[in-house]
Subunit: 334 residues, 2 copies
């Protein structure tokens, strides 16, 4: 069946340990023997057993990605990014869905570590902010990196974008177009990014000397139907907004649907913008002006931080970008 390190060592005419040295790129192996071993490995198409490595060694060559997010696009990009970096490193990725609000989260993470002996963990938002989870990881001394954490910023390395600035940029863009009544749909209350985007919206209004009107701000949950609900309320106002900024693309799609349903033309009668730049944004009609969140790159960078794991804590901030499409224009003259 599958060959073992013993088979390789027999063919190469060296000890098992020397084969192990070659596999792990340890020092103190002569060029000559290294080549002999590598030839034997290739000949047998030998792959070391992960299980045996874990059991015998300190490293497991596995990391876990823990996520709780209901946007398939977001998860997909996170997975893809982390996975790409793992491939480069020759490390296996265990993708672990979970429930950030579950009281058993810490226990589940502990179980995962005991069972798999992963070398490190990547937490994506909002699991990043589950206090039990962080404690569990620290108690076990497992290195971890967080993607877009909202709290305990100094507790671990992390990667993130500047949600406040991005929301500020987007709001300022709408103001620059001439909008003064700008609706806002907040994200899911579990995600810290929600607060930050709201804050950026307010900051931009302040800077422009516009007064913040609570009636123009509606709660949401990052999903399509909460966008619809918020859109309906906003457009029912006596003085409806001329632009609506939804905290993510899914909710923006909901707003767009409401506008269509009411026979409003976008962007002529209403400008709509989102956040994330998921595939959805460019597949809607009209294509959505949005903020490009570098999700894949954030995930890639997070894995990088984990592997480079110097002991110091590092925060990497990746740039966002305004993506201007066809869902925005100057407001209609009243």
């Amino acid at each position: 069946m599958a060959s073992t390190i013993k088979d390789v060592s027999a063919i190469a005419g060296v000890s098992m340990k020397t084969v192990s040295r070659v596999l792990n790129k340890e020092r103190y192996v002569s060029e000559k023997t290294r080549l002999r071993v590598e030839r034997a490995v290739a000949e047998l198409n030998f792959r070391p057993s992960v299980a045996a490595r874990i059991l015998a060694g300190k490293r497991s060559y596995q990391i876990a990605l823990i996520y709780d997010n209901h946007s398939p696009h977001y998860i997909h990009q996170i997975q893809t990014g982390v996975w790409a970096r793992c491939i480069e490193e020759g490390v296996r990725l265990l993708a672990q869905p979970s429930d950030a609000a579950s009281p058993f989260l810490a226990r589940e993470i502990g179980g995962l570590i005991d069972q798999t002996q992963v070398d490190g963990v990547i937490l994506s938002s909002p699991v990043t902010d589950a206090p039990g989870a962080l404690e569990e990881l620290e108690q076990r001394g497992i290195p971890y990196v967080r993607i877009s954490p909202g709290t305990d910023y100094d507790r671990s390395s992390s990667v993130s974008m500047d949600d406040v600035q991005a929301a500020d940029d987007m709001t300022s863009h709408l103001i620059a177009l001439g909008h003064t009544r700008i609706g806002f749909v907040i994200g899911h209350p579990n995600h810290t990014a929600s607060d930050q985007r709201l804050f950026g919206y307010r900051r931009a209004l302040d800077k422009a000397g516009l007064t913040f009107e609570p009636k123009y701000v509606r709660p949401g949950a990052f999903d399509f139907s909460s966008g619809e609900a918020a859109g309906d309320v906003l457009l029912d106002l006596a003085q409806p907004p001329t632009a609506i900024f939804a905290s993510n693309d899914d909710m923006a799609a909901g707003v767009l649907t409401v506008a269509h349903r009411r026979g409003m033309a976008v962007p002529r009668d209403l400008s709509v913008v989102g956040f994330d730049d998921t595939a959805l944004a460019s597949q809607l009609w009209p294509p959505l002006t949005t903020v490009r969140q570098p999700t894949r790159d954030l995930a890639y960078a997070a894995a990088g931080l984990l592997f480079d794991a110097a002991d110091e804590i590092v925060h990497r901030r990746l740039p966002h970008e305004l993506v201007l499409r066809a869902s925005t224009s100057a407001p209609k003259r009243a």
Copy 2:
């Protein structure tokens, strides 16, 4: 740190082997000792090391899911379904992206098995039809189940839906509405489902006594932009179709965008339908009439077949459903 089976056996006052028996639900353990062991396990919060189990035993308590698909929604549903079933079984899932067209696919799968000793493999379309992959699995005697295979139907257990019938149903629905010029956008050539959906479309035309017009059929690739391209060609025809059936929702979104861009009202000027019923379908304007493909359930069932693995080959076929939304109506009177 993490406790071992030895710690448990000490506390419970039994041998390691007896603890092992309890963990594996083997026969021949008295009720009394079983309870004692279970109490000790709970007390220590003990989780057996997967690595040690793999190394010592025959089973690895891991299965792999191999996919190559660029629709995040589809992957997400597949992953979710398989994962749900794995949880029930207490089995770990390794999700493995891959490239179905790669000449190294078989070798990669072989490597995965050697490294991880997975107990079984789930292949999702189109990896299901990569001949090298199947050979590799059979040669190693690893049980595998395929989700929506297109070829070698008798070679393994599988789960699938009836793509031909579904496309037939959808086409018949359009015909029943009064459409006679029905455009069709084919799926990605790598996926067998593409052929089957095309076949179903033709069968429905035949049954209704409509002649098949090659000019109404355009190639596609299951992505948004190929839908746009096909839509443009179809709507440029001297006698354009009054309805367009795209082989998946992403492409239907592309067609919808083309229609909007031309100032056509959907469904008044053009009916558009898709296939899959991804989240996208209900987030578009107008909401898309489509075929609900039971992706999550297919994945769940596939994992079930793998675990039940009687030696016989089983094919499970899950029902589809026409989801009628607002993107279809009778054609405009000429």
